[in-house]
Subunit: 301 residues, 2 copies
Amino acid sequence: VTAGRLPVVLDAMGGDHAPTAPVRGALQARAAGVDVVLVGDRDRLVAEMAAAGDGGLRIVHTPEAVGMDEDPAIALRAKPRASVRVAVAEYAAGRACAVVSAGSTGATLAAALLGLGRLAGVRRPAVGALLPVRGGVVLLDAGASTDVQPEVLRSFAVMGVAYARALGVERPRVGLLNVGSESGKGNALARAAHDLLEGHDGFAGNVEPGAVLAGAVDVVVTDGFTGNVFLKTLEAARQAGDSTAAAVLLGVAGDVLVAHGASDAADLAAALGTARRVADSGLSRSMAVRLERQGPQGGEP
Amino acid sequence: VTAGRLPVVLDAMGGDHAPTAPVRGALQARAAGVDVVLVGDRDRLVAEMAAAGDGGLRIVHTPEAVGMDEDPAIALRAKPRASVRVAVAEYAAGRACAVVSAGSTGATLAAALLGLGRLAGVRRPAVGALLPVRGGVVLLDAGASTDVQPEVLRSFAVMGVAYARALGVERPRVGLLNVGSESGKGNALARAAHDLLEGHDGFAGNVEPGAVLAGAVDVVVTDGFTGNVFLKTLEAARQAGDSTAAAVLLGVAGDVLVAHGASDAADLAAALGTARRVADSGLSRSMAVRLERQGPQGGEP
């Protein structure tokens, strides 16, 4: 069985509109040629399929799920059969090509680290979001690691380049999100990261938010706090739309995607399509290779 | 002479379009009832007035100016007669009710600290910007102090409340800019600041960018790096418009405003009008009183 024939596994209990939106999104994705397997409560999923008048999606049954307001670490420990954990386990067992969840990003990340581990050389994982600029500009970290050392931003640059290349960008240009374009601008983290990134393959220097939206770079690197504020501000200003509906967890040893908690069926169908493309591009494998070439990354242990 | 009769002093050599835009902005402001005195090169200012067909603005002559690309600290030391320093000196000598400059924010802040000093109890100054939400939501710090301790964010809350009250908000609600509304969210700085602010007069907890734009609070507190990224992202997404054209330097012992470097005449006329209102409200005096009541603020020395 090749990866191309494996289905995408969907945490059907994750998100504000679960399980209705996941089931309907999976049906839409299947109609578009993306095979999906659902993880969740069998009775509820069968009822949703009946309501949609369209059955036939394969279900991996589990009675547990992590709520959006639960502490991820505590919930995952208390619920070994939580749908997001079972979805990751399906992938780990080689029965799916990628994982998608619209549940809590923290819980999905924790489940991915627990079930798959990190890629060698990665100290801190990152959420890689696609900004709706040109073909899609990679923003990382969009929210996984809020307090990081400058060396971690350098490893984010390596992961971001791998992601952009998987998306088809041949020579990705990397910018450091900052409050001015001149070197020496920014807070202590940005100034130190700029020095570390100087000379890095494709590094184009500091970029202000306006330059990012103007498409000056292919990859934007920042810490998870600033990146999340940046992304949420764009979304609140209604410039981001659905393009950020699915983000990739970068640095985990596998292809795992998170969708917005508020995702509807169309958003989830789009996320499942993105997952299919990410899996086909062999993202986590190519990233592992690039990280290995790059040598050990710094950052706190 | 009462403050109400003093002119606003304008650094006529500051900004991308100086001295044309400052001179024309001052003429527009005067037509709207705001008296202005210009600081800059007399010959150039007289020529600009002649070109505008409207003379009669008072000029304080100085041959020096700080360029937008100069290091503020170095430039101010090398140019004791720089227009922004002379403008601050006019205010300090009691010949103006407020200062406006569209030059580099760093240079204006340095000139203000040099010429006026800080309000008692303020460890770090902040740029207080008005977001175009309802009557105007106060964002601080929009860019003065990029690396701060949690105690500094508490003093920003005190200054922000004073500013909002000067703008006519009776009981300002204060939010901490964050990536989630629940307590415990955010980076180390935000988590510690949340704990410090809990119980603070008017504190409404964490606010996400969307809640800020929805008008959930009157004052938004954050560090100068995050605040500047937030503001620039809003501007780049074209949601901010001219409402942020003028921002107040909070924590300096006087009423000093910075306008966008790209300001045109209309932007500067609006900034001069804002300066007039800030002076009439007695902002820096009322802030001094509130800070004194609040007792000593923490933060790094």
